[in-house]
């Protein structure tokens, strides 16, 4: 049962300080030149205002771009695993957009469903998501087309919605959310009859997800993939900014007798992603990789994991150096006869 409270914008700094005093690291969107990135902050004043979407998603709190998996030492004929560094303190991620919060379910489906990934689980358990509803959207946003909304609570521990210039409606959604409130109960007030809906951005539904999911299995051999991806240059930007992309690469690094294993982001957009040792590459050209991206998110993942691999945050389209607009491409596929 959702507990609704209010909190003043002016109290957020206090909340931050109290959470930090409680031993939590607080990550929040910080403006860096033209980008807005989640970074550890020491107060609310550092938090960026007035942006539609962060440049990178909050996924990194749970799935870092480069993460130590284990460390080892080698001797004459043995390899021994070593204890890693001390566990980092619990994290509160503030300012997550509802679409990003929804994406956690997609990542969870990969890392916690069939196999329980200990590294991920550890982070997942110790991370609290304070999301903030979207009052603004742009032409790239399409959360409503993939089952989300600018005020969706899915995946958040607390969802804040600015209901007047100074007051947030705080929906306390989980035990982790309650734990945050309990750190600074005085900062929260009981909510009245406020409703968030009228404070949310208007994001129109752009395509019929069901129709897309039906269409894709038969579209594998179509020419659309080539046409759409002619301008795709094969970088990994879309995957790396995507909150729901989960693929990783494993890299070992050694220094003398010491070694470390890292898990690093990877992208199906890269030519080498599927390269076999034999030299054979089942996805030899970019159009096949583009198809994979769309198929995986909108067909394979719904089939296998019962989640749609896209939350409509629009980041990939915003960040794409060559203006590959996923929304436009999907609409074209749905509308094609």
């Amino acid at each position: 049962m959702t507990d609704k409270k209010t909190i003043k914008k002016s109290s957020l700094d206090d909340l931050f300080k109290k959470m930090m005093a409680d031993g939590k690291r607080v990550l929040a969107p910080v403006r860096k030149g033209e980008t807005v990135l989640f970074q550890e902050v020491d107060g609310y004043s550092a938090v960026a205002a007035d942006y539609v979407q962060t440049t990178l998603s909050a996924k990194e709190a749970l799935l870092p771009r480069c993460e130590e998996m284990m460390r080892f030492t080698t001797a004459q004929s043995t390899v021994s695993l070593e204890e890693g560094p001390a566990k980092p303190s619990p994290v509160v991620v503030f300012g997550v957009r509802p679409c990003d919060a929804r994406s956690i379910a997609v990542v969870n489906a990969v890392y916690l469903k069939d196999y329980n990934d200990a590294l991920y689980k550890e982070k997942s358990d110790s991370t609290t998501i304070i999301a903030v509803s979207c009052a603004k959207s742009d032409e790239y946003c399409f959360c409503t087309s993939v089952g989300g909304s600018p005020g969706s609570t899915e995946g958040s521990d607390i969802l804040l919605t600015l209901i007047d210039g100074d007051t947030y409606l705080a929906e306390i959604l989980t035990d982790k959310g309650k734990a945050v409130v309990s750190i600074a109960p005085a900062l929260f007030a009981a909510a009245g009859s406020e409703v968030k809906e009228k404070h949310l951005a208007d994001v129109p539904v752009q395509f019929d997800l069901g129709a897309l999911e039906k269409k894709l299995p038969g579209a594998f051999d179509g020419a659309v993939w080539i046409t759409q991806s002619l301008r795709c240059i094969g970088c990994g930007t879309c995957s790396y900014v995507c909150p729901a992309c989960t693929c990783f690469d494993i890299q070992d690094e050694t220094d003398g007798t010491r070694g470390m294993r890292f898990r690093c982001w990877d992208s199906c957009g890269f030519g080498q992603f599927t390269l076999h040792t034999s030299g054979h590459n089942p996805r030899e050209v970019q159009s096949q990789r583009w198809r994979q991206r769309i198929m995986h998110k909108f067909s394979y993942q719904p089939d296998q994991l019962q989640v749609v691999g896209c939350v409509g945050c629009g980041r990939c389209s915003r960040a794409c150096p060559v203006d590959m607009n996923i929304l436009q491409h999907i609409k074209d596929i749905v509308e094609a006869r």
């Binding site: 980008t35 440049t55 771009r65 480069c66 002619l230 301008r231 900014v241 690093c264 150096p321 203006d323």
Partner: protein
């Protein structure tokens, strides 16, 4: 200008000289994007204005684009330079490509073949603009420690998405150095060392080849001013070696000057 390009594209396509024209068209919102015109009647979609800065030369080497047939490419100066360099690097020949050249003065340039293009590029050597030079100088004026802090801050944003590489027409290698793992020269993970090594390596591998189109910086999703590195090298090449060679690192003069070798 735009009309002339459309006209030229129509001619090339209808005459059968090319099967595809690579140019700029309307993108999302006020963006422009690369478009691939295959029919004369679609040529009207071509756009030419101040937003059309993406270096399209890389598409000439893309498998699916090549499969369309002989291409004409709308080419401003950086694209012309890229084509000249790619030609020097034997990546394509005259029969592969026609150019619709546009001068820095925004005039259509008649470049009937790639040799003409090569001459044209040679006649307009690569130079940094005063503004670009000033930005390089601004960094040079910092202390070493400040520069280190600057680049550490910038490269810490790097996520190794390789958009800089993918967007660069000169980064066409079949297997990039970072993917060479016997031995693993460049640390792959996106940590401080991996990021720094990647960007040093990339700048060095573009030394003498970079055409200063700025695509890497535009492509970078986290806004790292990568082209500064290439611009430093472009200035160094001009200062130290002059401008004659096609590739400064495969050439030398017995009296090349330096002031640091003991």
């Amino acid at each position: 200008m735009q009309d002339k390009i459309i006209q030229k594209a129509k001619e090339l396509l209808s005459g059968g000289a090319v099967q595809v024209v690579i140019g700029y068209g309307q993108g999302t919102g006020d963006r422009v994007r690369a478009i691939f015109i295959q029919k004369p009647e679609d040529a009207g979609r071509l756009i030419m204005d101040g937003r059309c800065v993406q270096n399209l030369a890389g598409y000439l080497m893309k498998h699916e684009v090549r499969a369309l047939g002989r291409a004409a490419i709308v080419a401003r100066m950086p694209v012309l330079r890229s084509i000249a360099q790619l030609m020097y690097e034997e990546q394509f020949k005259d029969s592969d490509v026609a150019v619709i050249g546009i001068s820095d003065a925004n005039e259509l340039v008649d470049l009937p073949d790639l040799n003409a293009l090569k001459e044209y590029v040679r006649a307009n050597p690569l130079k940094l603009t005063p503004e670009e030079q000033a930005e390089v100088d601004r960094l040079d004026a910092m202390t070493r420690e400040e520069r280190w802090a600057f680049w550490m801050e910038e490269t810490s944003k790097c996520i190794k998405c390789y958009a800089c590489r993918a967007s660069c027409p000169m980064c066409y290698c079949a297997r990039c150095t970072v993917e060479v793992n016997q031995p693993q020269w460049i640390s792959v993970p996106s940590h401080d060392l991996g990021n720094l090594e990647w960007h040093i390596m990339r700048a060095m591998h573009l030394a003498g080849r970079c055409v200063n189109c700025g695509e890497c910086t535009r492509a970078c999703p986290v806004g790292i001013p990568l082209r500064l590195l290439n611009q430093r090298i472009i200035a160094d090449i001009a200062d130290n070696f002059g401008e004659e060679e096609d590739y400064a690192l495969a050439a030398f003069k017995p009296d090349d000057k330096e002031d640091f070798i003991r």
